[in-house]
Symmetry: D2
Subunit: 364 residues, 4 copies
Amino acid sequence: MSFTTGSSLKFSIFGSSHGNGIGGSLEGFPAGFRLDKERIKLWADRRKPGSSVYTSQRKEDDTIRIVSGFTGDYTDGSPITIFIENKDSISKHYDYLRDNPRPGHGDITLFYKYGKYRNYQGGGFLSGRMTAPLVALGSIALDLLKEKFGIEIISWIDNMGGLYFGEKIPEGSEEPYKFETRCENPESERLSKDILKEVLSRGDSVGAGIRTVVRDVPKGLGEPFFDSVESSLSKMLFSIPGLKGVEFGSGFRFQGMRGSEANDLFYIDGGIIKTRTNNNGGVLGGITNGMPLDFRVVMKPTSSIHIEQKTVNIEKMEESTLKVTGRHDPCIAIRSVPVVQCSTAITLLDLMIQAQKVGRVLKN
Amino acid sequence: MSFTTGSSLKFSIFGSSHGNGIGGSLEGFPAGFRLDKERIKLWADRRKPGSSVYTSQRKEDDTIRIVSGFTGDYTDGSPITIFIENKDSISKHYDYLRDNPRPGHGDITLFYKYGKYRNYQGGGFLSGRMTAPLVALGSIALDLLKEKFGIEIISWIDNMGGLYFGEKIPEGSEEPYKFETRCENPESERLSKDILKEVLSRGDSVGAGIRTVVRDVPKGLGEPFFDSVESSLSKMLFSIPGLKGVEFGSGFRFQGMRGSEANDLFYIDGGIIKTRTNNNGGVLGGITNGMPLDFRVVMKPTSSIHIEQKTVNIEKMEESTLKVTGRHDPCIAIRSVPVVQCSTAITLLDLMIQAQKVGRVLKN
Amino acid sequence: MSFTTGSSLKFSIFGSSHGNGIGGSLEGFPAGFRLDKERIKLWADRRKPGSSVYTSQRKEDDTIRIVSGFTGDYTDGSPITIFIENKDSISKHYDYLRDNPRPGHGDITLFYKYGKYRNYQGGGFLSGRMTAPLVALGSIALDLLKEKFGIEIISWIDNMGGLYFGEKIPEGSEEPYKFETRCENPESERLSKDILKEVLSRGDSVGAGIRTVVRDVPKGLGEPFFDSVESSLSKMLFSIPGLKGVEFGSGFRFQGMRGSEANDLFYIDGGIIKTRTNNNGGVLGGITNGMPLDFRVVMKPTSSIHIEQKTVNIEKMEESTLKVTGRHDPCIAIRSVPVVQCSTAITLLDLMIQAQKVGRVLKN
Amino acid sequence: MSFTTGSSLKFSIFGSSHGNGIGGSLEGFPAGFRLDKERIKLWADRRKPGSSVYTSQRKEDDTIRIVSGFTGDYTDGSPITIFIENKDSISKHYDYLRDNPRPGHGDITLFYKYGKYRNYQGGGFLSGRMTAPLVALGSIALDLLKEKFGIEIISWIDNMGGLYFGEKIPEGSEEPYKFETRCENPESERLSKDILKEVLSRGDSVGAGIRTVVRDVPKGLGEPFFDSVESSLSKMLFSIPGLKGVEFGSGFRFQGMRGSEANDLFYIDGGIIKTRTNNNGGVLGGITNGMPLDFRVVMKPTSSIHIEQKTVNIEKMEESTLKVTGRHDPCIAIRSVPVVQCSTAITLLDLMIQAQKVGRVLKN
C-alpha cells in the first residue's frame, strides 16, 4: 500500500497540496509520552518554506491540529492523527500545468497512472508539502528516542552543488539549525550561500547531499534480511520527494576499496566492543552493531526553476514550453534536512518496538 | 517481518548456510506460466560459486528441488516453493568463528540479537548463500517479464576497484554473462581480471558497482509515496548481503548538478512522450515514466579475506586475531549480478500485479 | 496493526468518542468514482442515534467532512479521508466511570492494556461511535459495487430477543430501512417493537441476529486459505463492537446435519452452474461459487443499561455498584445493520481489487 | 496474501495434497525454545487419518522433516520450516473429478479462479491435508505457551450430529485425546460412536461443534479493533477447511438474552478482578479480561460421502453424477480438534509477541 508504511509503528499520510488540507497518522506509538506542542511547532517550522531567503517564500501559515492519540497530555496508545488545513490553494494557477507537465515532477506519471481523474494541482498528492505531517509526527518519535533512550539523530548538508564540506560531524542534533543552510560550520554556510545566491540569480536550483549520524543507537536493531536497518530506512527515505540515492557508511566509496581496508576491525574499549573504523555505518548483516548509524542521501536540484523549459502538451500531443512562476527553493535539500531526520526517527522507533526495546506503554 | 517481503507478490526465504538446507517461496505468482527447469538451473549456476577462477571455489553442487506451485508444467497460482539441500556443512570449521566474529560479517550482530541461541555457522541465516533461492525463484519472474511483456532487465559491473568502465549499456540481458567478470566489453573484462589477480595474490578482495537498466518497462508502475519504484526496489536490494548503496538515474551526481541540467525535458518521438535525458532513471514522483529504469548499487569488498585481521573473543572479552581459510570470492559483486537482476524482476513483477498490468491468471 | 485493516483496499480509523473527533481513511479506492455527498449523509444517518424512539436519543449532529481523496467530483486514487468533529463531549460525566468499569464494556481491558494512560472516556477508542467513519466510507464502497457491478448487499435483523422471523430475504438493500427495527416485514416490525418497549420499560436491552445476503457477487472472489471470503469478512465483522459470532450459510445448524443434506448439489440453469441448496452460503474452499453470499452475525444486548449493576472500583480494589444514566439503545443491533452492510462492502471491494475484477481506475 | 497470515508471528503454508509434498513456515518464533521432535510427532499423529475406525483410513505415513529454524536443539530466531513428503499421490483417481466437481468441495471454485491451470487433484491446495503443517508447527507454539507461561488450550467436541454434550470443560488439554471421538467423557464418547456407526453404515457423514477454552490467558491481549482477539482468531479459524461458524462466549445465544443477564458482573476474588459469569468468553472490547478465553466453532459434515450425488460436467456443461470412493472421515471435526487447538496457539502467541509478553529471545 502506497500511503502507509512501517511494521509495528505505522505511518500514513493523506490529503494533497491544493485540496482541503493534508494530514497523517502514527499508529502503534507507545502510550504514556507527554505531548509537547511547542516542540512539534518548532520542527514543523524548520521544514516550512519562508524561513529564510534561501528557501521558498511561499506562505504556509500552517496550524497543526492534533486530532487524536492523546488523553490529557499523554499519548494513549491510539493513532496520533494530525491535520493541517490548506489556506491559499489557488487552483487557477494550475490550469496550464494540467496539460503541460513540469519537467522533473511527477505531473506526467500521475497522468499515466490515473488519467483524467488525477490530482493534478501542484503535484497533487506527490507534492513535497506531503512531508509536513511526516515532520510533525516524526518529531514526536525524535523526542521520544532522545528523552527516553538518549538516541540522538543528527542530519546536515555535507555537500552542496558538488562542493564537499568534509567529514566533521555536528556536536548535536540542534547544531545544523544554527545555520540557515543546515550545514556544520560557518565556513560551509558561507560557501553554501554563495552557491545559492548564484543559483537564485539565474532562476536555477542546485542539488545537495545530506548526511545523518545516529549516536547511541542500541545494538541488535533491525530484522535479518528484508527488514534490515538498511532496507527499512531506505524504503522510508526514498519516499521523500527529490531523494535519489541512499548509501550507508562508506557507501559508493566501497567501489574503490579493498576488503583489508573496508573491514571494520573489532577492539575492546572500556569493556565495550567497538570497531576502529565505521565503514559499515553501524550496520552489519542488516543489524546495528553499536557503532553510530551513518548514512548519506542525495537530493536532486529543485525541479521548479524560473527558466523556460521544454515540455509537451499532453492533450494536444505537441511540444510546448513552460516557465514556473512564483518563488521556489533554490535547494530543496535545505528544507529536507528535518524530513530526513524525522523519517529516520520513525523508522528507528519502529525497529525499536519490533526488537521490544520500547514497550507499548512507556515506563516512567 | 524479516524473512518475507513484497506486497501482491511475496518472496520469503528459510534455512541457513550450514543447516539442512535453504529454500524460498514466491507467493502470488500468476497461474499459467510454463515451468522451464533448464532456465532456472542456468540462472542458479550464474550465482553459484566455482564457475570461474574469479569466484569462490567452494563446491555447491546444488540440486534445486521445486516442491510446489505447479500442476503439470504450469504454475497454478499457489506458492512456488523450492528447496536446496546443504551437502557439505562441516560445522567443526566454525567453532573458532563462534567466539571470534569475522570483521565485516554479521556474526557479531547475530550475537547481539539472539545471544547464545544464534545461528552462528558460516553467517547462519545472514549468509550470502541465502540469495540462492532468490535467484532460482527470481529467474522465473525474469522470464515471465521478458516472454509475456518484453521487459528486459540488464545488470552488469560498471566499476571495479574504483575503475569506472563507462556509460555503455549491454545490448541485452545475456551480454554480461559472456564475460567472466560480468562487465560490458572485452576491455573491461581484461581490466577487471588484472584487478582480481592482484587482489587474489594478496588474499584480499575488492568492491564494485553494478548498474541495472530495464528496457520497455511499462509507464505508470509504482505506487505513490511508500511503495514507489525507488522505495520498493531499495527495500529489496538492501537485503542483498554486502550491498551498501542504491542510486537512481544520476544518483549522487545530482549533488553537483543544477536544476536546469538535471530536469529531463519532454519531447515527442513517433507519438510517444520521451525525455531528452534520463537523469531521473525512468522514475518521476516514484512512478515509471516510460524511459528505461536505471539504477546503480555498490557491493562492498568480500568481507572474508585471507589476511590476518584483528577481532575480539566475545566469550573471554579479549582482543584476538582471525584468518579466514578456504577459498573465497575476490569480488562478491561478480556473483551478485544475477542476484540484483532477479531481485529487480521480483519487485517489478510485484508492482506490475499491483498496477493490474499482470493478471492472476496469464492469458495465452 | 490494530487501527488499520485490509489488503489492496485498506481501511483505518482514528480518534475517540470524547476527544476532538473521529475519522477514517480508505486507501486504495479506485480513481474515477463520482462523489455523492447526499448518499454518504443518508447512510451516516442510518447509523446515527436518535433516528427513532427505538435507538439512543443521544444527539450526534454530525457533520462529515471529506478531507481528501477527490479531485473535482471524482475519486483520484489517493486515500479518502473523512473527519467528524465531536460536538458535546462532556468528560465530567466519565469521572466515576474512570474508576468503576462498566460491565460488558472494554473499560476494564483498556485499563489492563494501557494503565493510567488509557483513553477512558465513554469507551475511548473502543466506543461504538468509531463505526461512524466505517459507515460513511463504507457507503462509498457499497455504491460503487452496486452502480458499477450490480452487487447488492442486503442486511436485516432476522432474530430479536430469541424470536426468529424466518428465512425470507428482503427484495432489495433499501427494504429493511422502511422499518424502524430494520427487519423484513411489518409483522416482524410489530413483534420487535413489542420486545423493545418491554425492554425499554425495564431499562434493559436485548440481543439480536443480523443476516446478510449479497446478490450477484462474482464467482472466484476470495484468496485460498488465509484471505478466504470467510476469513476476510470475519476479521472485519468481529471488529464491530458488540458482535460475538459469525456463521456462513447453514452455520451452526451444520452441527445437526448429514453430509448428504449439507452438500449443495450442482445443476445447470440457463447455461449457468448453480446449486440446489445454498448451505455453504455461496462460499466453497473460501472462494465464491456464484450463489448468493449468505451469512449471519449476532449482536449482544447493549451493555449500557439503566439497571444498577455490580462492578469494582479499580483504584480502591473494592466492590462497588454502577448505574448508567442517559439514554441508550435498547437493541444495538438496529444501528449495527448499516455497519455490517458497509463492513461487507469494504471487504468485498478489497477482494474484488485483489482478484483484479475492479481496476485501479474505473472505466466509464 | 492468501498463504501467509499473522502479524509479529507469521504462519505460511505451501504445497498441495497430491504434488511433491506440503510444508509450512513459522516466522518470528522466539529464539531459545527447545525442540521436542516427539511432541511434534505426537500432535501430527492426532490429526492424521487412520488413527481409528472413526477417521479416514487413508494411509499418510508422514515423516515431518524440520528443514530450518534450529541451531543445535534450540530455535534460533529464523523461520521454522517443515516439509512433509507426499508418498502415494495417485493422480489417475482424479481424472473424473477434474471435470465433475465434488459437491461441498472447493473443486469448482478453483476452476472459477484459475481455469485450466488449477491444481485439481484431491482438492489441490485447498485440501484438508494442508492443515498438517499447521498442526506440526502450531504444536510448538502450544508447548511454548504451556511450558513458559502456563497457558493451557483445551479443545473438544461438545456437539455431534446436533446432540449437545453439555457445559463441562475437560480438566486439561490432554483429556479429550483419551477418547477416540475427542469429547469430554465416556458417555459422550458412547453417544458419538453410535452416531458415527450409523453414519458410516450409510456412507454418510455428520457435522459437529468444537469448543475451546484457554486457561490462564494473560490480561490485555489483543489489539483494539481490527486485530482484536476475536478478529485475529476468526481469521485463522475460518481458514480451516469445513469450518463455517465461530462464536465467542455465549455467541448466538446472545440473540435471546437481555443486557441484565448478558453483562458479566465484576467482583474481587483474592485480590483479583473476576466476573461472575463469562458470557463474553474472556474478551471485552476485543481484549482479554483475564477470564478464560472461550469460543466455539462448527465443522460441517465431511463433504466426501459414499453416496451418489448430482453434479455437473464442467467441460461438457451437462449434468452428471459422482460417487466418491475410498475411505473417508465420517466426521471431519474429530481430526479438526488438534487443528483448532494449534491454530489458537499460533494466534495467541502472535498476540503475546505483539503485546510484548513474549520476548524475541526466551529467558531461562
